[in-house]
Symmetry: C2
Amino acid sequence: MKTAFALHKIIFIGSGNVATHLGKALYQKGYIVSQVYSPTKKSADALAAQLKSKAITNLKKLDLTADVYFIAIKDDAISDVVKQLTLIDKVVVHTSGSMPLAVLKTTSDNFGVFYPLQTFSKNKGIDFTNIPIFLEASNKKTFGLLQSVAEAISNKVQAITSEQRKYIHLSAVFACNFSNHMYAIAAGILSKQQLSFDILKPLIAETADKIQLNDPQKMQTGPAIRKDLKTMRMHLKLLEDDKELKMIYKLLSKHISH
Amino acid sequence: MKTAFALHKIIFIGSGNVATHLGKALYQKGYIVSQVYSPTKKSADALAAQLKSKAITNLKKLDLTADVYFIAIKDDAISDVVKQLTLIDKVVVHTSGSMPLAVLKTTSDNFGVFYPLQTFSKNKGIDFTNIPIFLEASNKKTFGLLQSVAEAISNKVQAITSEQRKYIHLSAVFACNFSNHMYAIAAGILSKQQLSFDILKPLIAETADKIQLNDPQKMQTGPAIRKDLKTMRMHLKLLEDDKELKMIYKLLSKHISH
């Protein structure tokens, strides 16, 4: 992690979780956040206040003197914003896991991707130090600039192609979105029995902790890996009233067992 | 957590992960582990050495003067061991999440279940303080004895019926076994792209950490909950060569989105 070699002026287009956490981390490292854009005034104001920045709700009011423009919005809103941007010599980046670099090619000669691999939530702070940040850029100079920004907050900055990034994002859907859904299903099963989700918390913490130092494949436990048919049949019976959950249980157990 | 009101003499039938971790925790609290049984001499010896105990490989050599006999073996081996046990006034327990209490009824008048809800692995220590231990017993006196043992190592001791325990075990399969499998799938996707699983570790840690204070349903992120069809279609295309993974992706996304 290096100190920024110059105090860049940056702008956030978007005011959601990624913009908020990334904005805060960069602001804390001395970056000047000149503007925060959101079509929703309330949310532009809220983030702007935290970053000592100016809120705007119209892209026509965009400050054209900043160094890096971060587009941190939902994937399907990116192309709409892109159409409104002509920044020529400025650096324009998006923070998406799945959108290609090329989606930004009309905005500037200097464009890139700045993808932090983490799940961000409201009201929960994030330390970026060990969060991987994957970079891609349209040219060397832009890459260098993005690298200096990324290295100001993270020790894990890495160049990656759009193609590799797609697979990283896909793997994150399994590791994060789907594992969280497993927690939600478990919580639902317990709640139907008037049991508290709290009882699973040490188990979930330990399950996630085990793979920090071990291959998850080798850490697999449970009836499916033991091929314990009796227990699996019993579980399927408990799920009898829920066709979809039954199907999920069967499919995952089958996938584990081979 | 209380101190044991008497130094009980206990025996472990089984020498796997549950026996090892539970045995160590109780041994550290002053319990005398008189014997460790395993049909495999090497593994009986290994655990017995750690608990300053005696290894036996034949149940006919069982010390009949202990207070509590812990059966901590695979579910499908329990009934076989039960057939060989006649302990009358001793307390006999199993540690299984899915086996009913009644499976022990021929072993003694005093039988019970002692189910710690955690995933145990070789070479990784466990602090039992916050691990829920679920108890069930054939009579009050037995329950009281088990409670004193459980409370010697855990602050989260709770009475539970065999029926509730089945659901707890089922929920644990989702929260632990299936979420670990999601990590394994993610690792597989990355490895095919020559990318290290290490890049997902902060994400996995944060995903598990988020639900310690929040409802997992509310913490759900990703393309499925956003109904981002474009990204989901792109992911399914990346999985084109793997029918089963594609099916898992589809099924879980569908289940998340409603």
